[in-house]
């Protein structure tokens, strides 16, 4: 059974540019996104900052109207049946904000229990259950303003699942959380799936998507550029190789020349203090070290290595292909 369906979903924002003479500017944040999520599935929407992940999720949870296209959650239209959709979904987003700082965790949950129509009797047991699930039992009477980022994030999750929704939307839930906290949060997300929920997760952490998701859609510049299981996405670049070259002071012109070398699929740059690391995705059957170094003639070159591609490389290749 399909729980989430997005068909050619588009969203354009109108903004202005210029200081004195303001001119309208249309920004296409989501450009024809389509995907479907089955019941009990953990579906990942993966992409860089500004790719359109949050805009897509906001349309699905009824906070934004699509400019065009259709979206249904649990068979209900997110535009015309917004209130019905809201009753049956949970929404969790990452970051420090979104909680009543001066209230305790229990009062935060009580308030949202009221908003979601959880009866007084059910509230008492349900709040204890979700506090236990997210590991905040014993700290629930403390004010949120004293919580760490990880605790806040766990409280966000508790709030999102308080009314026992069938579908949970998690928008970058581990952003800014320390590695131990993030691992605990990932376990909590896995527990949601074990409890039979359908989860749509947005993240830009490849390893997180790899560890949790049944299927992943990679989104870049508002469009889905790849979709499948983590294994299938990895297989897409498995026959290739990755050459990493340490260089100093290369500019965009050099990168453009590298990208057109025969056999090169994608080139990305990681800034590392004073040096740069060029990550070059190459076809498997080609030895490209010499032609690549030829393009770098005149620049100081450091270590050059070659390795097998990882899932992150698959992601980079997909996202980079649109550049």
């Amino acid at each position: 059974m399909l729980v989430i369906e997005a068909v050619d979903l588009r969203r354009t924002y109108r903004t202005t540019t210029g200081v004195i003479r303001r001119r309208p500017l249309d920004v296409e944040a989501v450009r024809g996104v389509s995907f479907a999520v089955e019941q009990g599935e953990l579906f990942g929407l993966l992409g860089p900052n500004g790719a359109g992940k949050t805009t897509t999720i906001k349309m699905l949870i009824t906070l934004l109207l699509p400019t065009s296209g259709d979206a249904r959650v649990l068979g209900m239209d997110v535009v015309s049946q917004a209130r019905d959709v809201r009753k049956r979904i949970g929404y969790v987003f990452g970051g420090d904000r979104g909680l009543y700082e001066r209230l305790s965790a229990r009062d935060n949950l009580r308030y949202f229990a009221e908003l979601y129509g959880v009866s007084g009797k059910a509230q008492r047991t349900r709040i204890d259950e979700v506090l236990e699930l997210v590991g905040l039992k014993g700290r629930e009477q403390e004010r949120v303003e004293g919580y760490s980022r990880g605790m806040r994030q766990r409280l966000h999750i508790a709030r999102g699942i308080l009314h026992d929704p069938e579908v949970v939307f998690l928008d970058e839930p581990t952003i800014g959380v320390d590695p131990v906290g993030a691992r605990e949060l990932r376990q909590t997300i896995a527990d949601l799936i074990a409890a039979g929920k359908t989860v749509l997760l947005t993240t830009h952490y490849m390893f997180e998507a790899d560890a949790l998701c049944d299927r992943i859609a990679v989104i870049a510049k508002g469009e889905i550029v790849g979709e499948g299981t983590p294994a299938a996405l990895k297989a897409g670049v498995a026959e290739g190789r990755v050459t990493e070259i340490e260089v100093f002071g290369v500019d965009d012109g050099v990168l453009s020349r590298l990208r057109v070398v025969d056999g090169v699929r994608a080139v990305t740059v990681e800034e590392r203090d004073q040096k740069q690391l060029l990550v070059v995705q190459c076809a498997a059957d080609r030895e490209l070290t010499a032609p690549l170094l030829a393009q770098l003639d005149g620049f100081e070159v450091g270590r050059v290595t070659s390795r097998e591609p990882t899932l992150e490389d698959a992601y980079v290749a997909l996202v980079g292909a649109g550049d």
Partner: protein, 262 residues
């Protein structure tokens, strides 16, 4: 209906605790009690010095007007702070009835406004010699309740504007002093320029203060009923405008992401 009422009362009270910036005693006492007290003493002494109006004119006017400390600032915070605390997104994503959520915020603000007004009246009695007849107290209390309701409704409209406007405290400050000047608190409405008194008659407080002065001077409730009903009508109009604006902004936020700061 029961769900509506729990969101209205329980939800309103929890949200108020979460959003009202001055709830801690260290902030509440100087802001909600100290400031009105000094306003009362300042204008009463100034008025007595100038011999423009009777002492009670200033005591009643200021004791009623100080409810705006709660109504204007409290209600603005109770609505507009949702956006600045980042809680507007989760709130709008919930299926809760918007009228219950919005109007429920007014109940604690209303109670606080009554407390501030009552405190200032008591201070006027103890420190400045205000002595309404005992028989006048119930009618005075009723008039004050109606006026605080009206002021709170005005605060709801300001709160909704604060959802959209970036510097909403600027608007709240402006509104507070606008009411002090335009509503006949320290200057009789008839002595204000025509346009100012016309604006004052459209604001909350004006009719309530006029009614409060009359009942404090011994008039019956029946005598001021027209003023009280007008104040109630103004309350209903501002509450409806505030709720309507909230709904419009919610719709606009879905359509064009105007509240998209959460």
């Amino acid at each position: 209906m029961r769900r509506w009422l729990t969101v209205f009362f329980v939800g309103g009270s929890i949200a108020y605790r979460g959003l009202f910036n001055w709830i801690r005693p260290a902030m509440y006492i100087p802001t909600m009690l100290g400031s009105p007290l000094f306003q009362l003493i300042f204008f009463t002494k100034l008025g007595q010095f100038a011999q423009a109006q009777s002492r009670d004119f200033y005591i009643v006017g200021n004791s009623v007007q100080v409810c705006a400390m709660s109504s204007v600032y409290g209600m603005t915070m109770a609505v507009a702070n949702e956006r600045w605390f980042g809680t507007l997104g989760p709130l709008l994503a919930s299926p809760a009835n918007r009228a219950a959520v919005f109007l429920g915020r007014g109940m604690p603000v209303l109670a606080n406004g009554l407390l501030v007004s009552a405190f200032t009246f008591v201070a006027g009695t103890l420190l400045l010699g205000f002595r309404p007849g005992l028989a006048a107290v119930p009618a005075l209390a009723l008039v004050v309740v109606v006026t605080v309701v009206s002021c709170t409704a005005f605060g709801m409209l300001l709160g909704s504007i604060g959802l959209r406007a970036k510097d909403f405290f600027f608007a709240a400050n402006l509104a507070y002093f606008l009411m002090l000047l335009f509503c006949g608190v320290n200057i009789p409405l008839d002595e204000l320029p025509g346009w100012m008194s016309a604006v004052g008659r459209c604001l909350p407080l004006t009719h309530g203060i006029a009614a409060a002065r009359e009942v404090a001077a011994g008039a019956s409730l029946l005598h001021v009923w027209g003023l009280v009903l007008t104040e109630l009508g103004i309350a209903a109009a501002y509450a409806a405008a505030g709720l309507a604006l909230f709904r419009v902004l919610e719709h606009e936020s879905r359509r064009s992401a105007v509240l998209d700061a959460y």
